[in-house]
């Protein structure tokens, strides 16, 4: 009985040994000559058969500069505005601020851009965006660049410059954050968190 037990073990060991040997022998033959090479490149492209055009409308109301943007093109446009004015020291008694009118309450700086990795970039340059498309011939609601003088002796002249940019409203959908692709990339509204989120 001991002999039978030993014989079985011997045979089992032999079978395993043969199986392993065959396994290692089979895998050696598959190595082929191959080569690969790659290259890439980009070319700038722009297709805008009917680009939007807008201009600044400035007028004085009660001695203060009031600004609106008018669509002078033939297609809807999304617009943004930047106002350049000097920042005077506090003790000079002059303050300049931007105050939207009643209808212009939606002028907003709460907009983010997107960098190459898809990460949000803040609106560091301080552009004001109108979050609705402006139809051809129509204007945005106005806002006032209000200069307040508390020091009557202040008599230094200064400039307030208004710059506007527009882009096609094709990608804008009401209710969605994306405004459009301006010169420095896509801009989207910062949507308020919904209730319950």
């Amino acid at each position: 009985m001991a002999k039978k037990y030993l014989a079985k073990r011997g045979i089992a060991a032999l079978v395993i040994a043969v199986a392993l040997t065959m396994g290692t022998a089979v895998g050696t033959a598959f190595a082929y000559y191959t080569d690969t090479t790659q290259a890439k490149g980009m070319v700038s492209f722009s297709y805008n058969p009917n680009p939007p055009t807008t201009e600044v409308e400035e007028y004085k109301v009660d001695g203060q500069k009031t600004v609106a943007i008018k669509n002078t093109g033939e297609v809807d446009a999304m617009v943004r505005v930047k106002v350049f004015y000097p920042e005077f020291p506090e003790d000079w008694g002059v303050t300049i601020s931007i105050e939207p009118g009643e209808e212009g309450a939606e002028w907003t700086q709460d907009v983010v851009g997107v960098d190459a990795d898809g990460n949000p970039t803040p609106n560091s340059e301080g552009w004001l965006y109108w979050p609705h498309p402006v139809a051809p011939g129509k204007s945005t609601p106005a806002f006032t660049v209000k200069a307040t003088l508390t020091n009557k002796d202040f008599n230094q002249p200064f400039d307030i410059t208004v710059v506007q940019q527009c882009t096609s409203a094709k990608s804008f959908v009401e209710g969605q954050p994306l405004l459009g692709t301006f010169a420095d990339g896509e801009k989207s509204l910062i949507m308020p968190a919904k209730d319950g989120e």
Binding site: F30, Y32, Y33, T34, D35, T36, T37, Q38, A39, K40, G41, M42, V43, S44, F45, S46, Y47, N48, P49, P51, D115, A116, D117, T167, S168, K170, S171, G180, T181, A183, D184, G185, E186
Partner: protein
């Protein structure tokens, strides 16, 4: 100490003796082994040289070899040349939809001693971002919001005489071409696979904004050895080059070159 030794039991004494004998044995072996490695004889030197064959493939753009990790469309004004009746030297500022711009993509066998079978894969897509200019980083990245099928690669009948376009592997973003016959060592393909690029005129009807983007092209060439090319292609690329569609188009990779 002698007293301690005398007081040990027999077993302890035996154990002590065995350990002492083992210790002596180890010491003797340490002394002996260096002496066993002295060379007494060695044969003369025999030298053999083995030369391995090299396979190599390169991409060519407009009949010029693109260097390793080089750029396609390195000179965009060369791509945008479009002679007109009024101006034979006309170079468009941007690609005009509907017009074909010459861009010849082909393959060259760079090995000195090995024939090969080759395939060309071209990926086309839109990218957004700004090109770096040394002081600012290159932020151009692929965008999935614009439709790559608007970029059309020209594959003419003459190209079709030398290349097979693998319809089942082609997508909106990728075109794959297989060279029908062996590409001999050192030679370029007889005719380019891609001869031009065109923007589909239906771009004027789309909703997306193409006013500020980049057209990107990536080309990759792959080659396999001629011997057992069918197995090599299956192993390296997972592609069955004996499939019905290829055979019907005239692809024959069972030649031995």
């Amino acid at each position: 100490m002698m007293q301690t030794l005398k007081n040990l039991t027999l077993q302890a004494r035996i154990a002590l003796i065995v350990l002492a004998a083992a210790l002596v044995g180890c010491v003797v072996m340490m002394a002996v082994s260096p002496a066993r490695s002295a060379l007494t004889y060695f044969s003369g030197e025999y030298v053999a040289e083995i030369q391995q064959t090299h396979i190599g493939v390169a991409l060519t753009e407009n009949d010029a070899v693109v260097p390793e990790e080089g750029n396609l469309i390195a000179d965009s004004s060369a791509l945008l040349k479009r002679p007109t009746a009024d101006n034979p030297d006309n170079v468009d500022q941007f690609m005009i939809p509907g017009e074909v711009y010459s861009e010849r993509l082909s393959v060259q066998n760079r090995s000195s001693d090995m024939d090969e079978y080759v395939r060309l894969t071209v990926r086309k897509y839109w990218a957004k971002g700004a090109e770096g200019d040394g002081s600012t980083a290159d932020t151009r990245a692929k965008t999935d919001k614009l439709d790559p099928s608007l970029i059309q690669l020209q594959f003419t009948d003459e190209s079709a005489q030398h290349w097979v376009r693998a319809d089942n592997e082609c997508t909106a973003e990728r075109e794959v071409f297989y060279y029908k016959t062996v590409l001999p060592a050192g030679e370029a393909a007889e005719y380019p696979a891609v001869t031009g690029i065109r923007i589909d005129p239906s771009i004027k009807d789309v909703r997306e904004d193409y006013s500020n983007c980049w057209l990107a092209l990536e080309a990759q060439v792959d080659s396999v050895q001629v011997n057992n090319a069918v197995d090599a292609a299956k192993s390296a690329w997972g592609v069955d080059v004996t499939q019905e569609a290829f055979a019907a188009a005239g692809l024959n990779w069972s030649q031995e070159g």
